[in-house]
């Protein structure tokens, strides 16, 4: 009796292609799938080693040297973009995983315990939420030194309140349902109810949120690298590629356009995917499309 939110497909007669029914889902999913594949490929193969400098071949436009040209150190832009995809996606994924787990844990606990715990946890979230991630990254950077770890922590910290807010409101609604009341009446404890009833019912909303937050995490990671707070060189990141390209805008515009496009496309992909998943999974949106 717990599967209230299971999605029920419309009758077979209305079976049109998934693309027409859920264009967001398909386009977003395709973009992200391609990016993930590229990121994994970059671990084994790139056209050139991504850090390889050939200063005699510097600032060559696309196709003149390599598919996408070279940067101010003569590094192959395509290889750097590929390796950058791995760095961006891995940092964003780990950070969101951390933030989502911690935030969800906090959220369901607050919903289960209510009272003082919820008030304190939620106000603490507000405090964290008030700090821009860039600022917390700068403080963390001063404490721990900059790098992959700092970037992950900085992004994860600011994901926690996002997820705990989503979770606490969704979980509170579920807690008010009759079957939860029944479970409580049967003497089940808060932990058990949360695992058996609350989490399965709010999972969809969390998944949608994860997808959307991934896009935001990518953007934040790029911002941090742009400011020199991300991964240290020589590891290529999209953000630093953009930062390095600034003064070459007039002479070598592709150095700014390409990583900019990569960032925009990735964020766009995650947002589309998130929208599509929401249409598909979120019961509150049912019937709207």
């Amino acid at each position: 009796m717990s599967a209230v939110t299971v999605t029920v497909e419309k009758p077979a007669a209305r079976r049109t292609s998934l693309f027409l029914r859920r264009p967001n889902l398909v386009i977003g999913g395709a973009i992200i799938a391609i990016l993930v594949i590229i990121a994994f490929v970059s671990l084994f193969w790139t056209p050139m080693p991504p850090g390889k400098m050939q200063i005699i071949h510097k600032l060559k436009p696309p196709l003149a040297q390599g598919l996408l040209g070279t940067d101010h150190f003569g590094r192959d832009v395509l290889s750097m973009l590929m390796a950058g995809a791995w760095n961006s996606l891995s940092i964003a994924t780990v950070a969101v995983a951390f933030g989502a787990s911690l935030g969800t844990l906090l959220g369901v606990t607050a919903a289960a315990r209510r009272g003082v715990f919820e008030a304190v946890a939620m106000r603490a979230n507000d405090v964290i939420f008030a700090f821009p991630p860039i600022l917390s990254a700068m403080m963390l950077g001063a404490l721990l030194g900059t790098g992959r770890f700092t970037a992950i922590i900085a992004i994860a910290v600011f994901m926690v309140p996002v997820f705990s807010r989503v979770t606490v409101s969704a979980a509170s609604q579920v807690w008010a349902r009759d079957y939860v009341l029944a479970a409580r009446a049967a003497g089940k404890g808060g932990v058990l109810i949360t695992i058996e009833h609350i989490l399965p019912n709010i999972a969809n909303q969390i998944i949608v949120q994860v997808t959307i937050q991934l896009g935001l995490a990518i953007l934040t990671e790029a911002g941090l690298s742009f400011l020199g707070l991300g991964m240290a060189p020589p590891a290529p990141t999209w953000g630093r590629m953009l930062a390095d390209a600034q003064t070459y805008l007039g002479t070598a515009p592709w150095l700014a356009i390409l990583p900019g496009l990569a960032i925009a496309l990735t964020v766009f992909g995650f947002n589309m995917l998130g929208d599509g998943l929401r249409d598909l999974l979120d019961p509150r949106e049912k019937g709207r499309t």
């Binding site: 400098m53 200063i55 510097k58 101010h72 150190f73 020199g228 020589p234 003064t247 007039g250 002479t251």
Partner: protein, 507 residues
């Protein structure tokens, strides 16, 4: 934060525009096409204070030296010592007594008369126990200062010092008033051709011509000067192209110089500087305490590639802490030329056949991280792993590297001319100690004979080139960009400065 700033900036600009417009309307009837007499000069770094005698950063002198403050002597655009507030001087045969005859009728901007008592005050302040002068050692040789009369100043030295007169021309040795000195940091009062008006922190310093300037032979071409502080190269270029700023004597991004060539309103001027980019090592820390390791790292670096990649090919390779403009320069780039194979062999000999790992602390100025990234790739070729750690300049860098000497390697441009003696200083951030070198520097100070001095400078350079206390990379040129109608700015930079005495507009 940025948006707030830009809105505020926009409002200020709007207000300025309004004022300019109404002023323009008022003046339109009177002066139709008079030559421009105001100048907006851009700098990348804003000074932290405006008194060059209390702290070292060169940006202070770049605003104030020769404009607001003057010295007993000055250094001209060819790097020569010329008389200023001292119209003449005599040095006794043993080199121990300097007698200066001072200019008459010199007044500070606040009305105080300049005489020998003021000069004594200024020098005593610079060398006294309370002094925080960045170049305090300049005055260490002075034993006593006498003022037989108002126009005579006598310096008695403890021992000969061949560089004293040159040092007295530096921004750190300028004359300050007895009443105004304490406030010079925020409201500088000097004897110079320009008076301080205002300092809007984070934005600009404004000066006006000093109508009572003592040197009546100087004909100023400007009556109003604004120093603008803009760190970002893109913004610098935009300000130049829009005419908001008339000149950037030290433009920040070499890769953008090409873009100015098409602009007929602007000229680009490549001049000499004393900016030596060196990667200093902590000579007492392992493995850098082994000379062979330092030599191997030097051989791992192809200087021309560094110059090409980091500074768009603008720059001259150096083999020691000395530039081709300095007297007695010898080219020592061949002492440890680029040779990765030999470098590897030498590392193996020093006990590091598989290389080692260390960290470089790089300040944010563009030359530093860029050079570091190239060096990182070059070190990787000989099996050495270098981690780049961005370190904010000046505060954190000064604290960690310069004062704390808590670092393996760093990279920074040394701006002071003829500062090879820093390797003889103890303490200094390289932690480099070589009695033979210290001895040569001592000899230079004790010699007045310039030929002998040059020979000794040659020796000093050779010792450094062989010992490699720092990786000597290149001298940065002065990348000047300014309005084509603007004349009189220094093309070269024998000492970091923006001397405006001869600057004027041409129709």
């Amino acid at each position: 934060m940025n948006r707030v700033q830009s809105i505020a900036g926009g409002m200020i600009r709007l207000a300025t525009f309004g004022v300019a417009l109404s002023a323009g309307l008022l003046l339109a009837g009177v002066t139709v096409a008079a030559t421009k007499t105001s100048l907006v000069l851009g700098m990348s770094v804003e000074p932290q204070g405006l008194d060059p005698t209390v702290s070292a950063p060169v940006a202070i002198g770049q605003v104030t030296w020769q404009n607001i403050f003057e010295g007993l002597v000055a250094i001209d655009k060819d790097g020569k010592i010329v008389p200023q507030l001292a119209k003449s001087w005599e040095i006794s045969g043993d080199g121990l007594i300097y007698t200066f005859k001072l200019q008459q009728g010199v007044k500070f901007h606040d009305g105080e008369d300049f005489d020998s008592a003021v000069a004594k005050f200024a020098l005593d302040r610079a060398r006294g126990p309370e002094s925080t002068n960045g170049q305090k050692r300049f005055f260490a040789a002075i034993d006593t200062i006498d003022t037989p009369d108002k126009q005579t100043l006598v310096l008695k030295l403890k021992e000969r010092n061949g560089s004293l007169l040159y040092w007295l021309g530096w921004p750190a040795s300028v004359m300050v008033g007895t009443q105004s000195a304490a406030n010079d940091k925020t409201t500088p009062i000097g004897t110079g051709p320009f008076k301080f008006v205002s300092w809007t922190k984070g934005d600009r310093v404004e000066l006006v011509a000093n109508p009572g300037y003592w040197n009546t032979q100087t004909k100023l071409g400007l009556d109003k000067v604004t120093f603008r502080f803009i760190a970002d190269a893109q913004a610098q270029a935009a300000a130049l192209k829009s005419g908001d700023v008339d000149a950037f004597p030290e433009f920040a991004a070499p890769e953008m110089m090409e873009g100015f060539k098409e602009d007929t309103e602007l000229v680009t001027v490549i001049g000499n500087t004393e900016l030596k980019v060196v990667a200093g090592m902590n000579n007492t820390r392992k493995p850098f305490d082994d000379k062979r390791v330092r030599q191997a790292l030097m051989m791992a670096i192809d200087r021309s590639t560094v110059i090409d990649g980091a500074w768009s090919g603008f720059g001259t390779a150096i083999g020691s802490h000395y530039t081709p403009n300095d007297r007695g320069y010898i080219d020592l780039t061949g002492t440890y030329p680029y040779d990765p194979e030999k470098a590897k062999a030498l590392l193996a000999e020093a006990g590091y056949p598989n290389g080692f790992t260390f960290t470089i602390k790089t300040p944010q100025m563009p030359y530093a991280p860029r050079s570091a990234e190239i060096m990182q790739a070059m070190f990787a070729e000989i099996g050495v792993t270098m981690t780049i750690e961005p370190t904010e300049f000046p505060a954190k860098w000064v604290q960690d590297v310069f004062k704390g000497t808590d670092y393996d390697m760093t990279i920074v441009a040394h701006a002071e001319p003829m500062d090879i003696d820093i390797y003889a200083r103890d303490p200094y951030y390289f932690n480099y100690k070589n009695p033979a070198f210290t001895d040569v520097i001592k000899k230079i100070e004790l010699t007045a004979d310039t030929v002998e001095q040059e020979k000794l400078y040659g020796e000093a350079q050779k010792i450094l080139a062989d010992d490699v206390p720092a990786l000597f990379l290149f001298v940065m040129p002065k990348l000047g960009v300014w309005n084509a109608k603007l004349k009189g700015l220094w093309e070269n930079e024998p000492i970091p400065s923006n001397v405006l005495t001869d600057v004027h507009w041409e129709d």
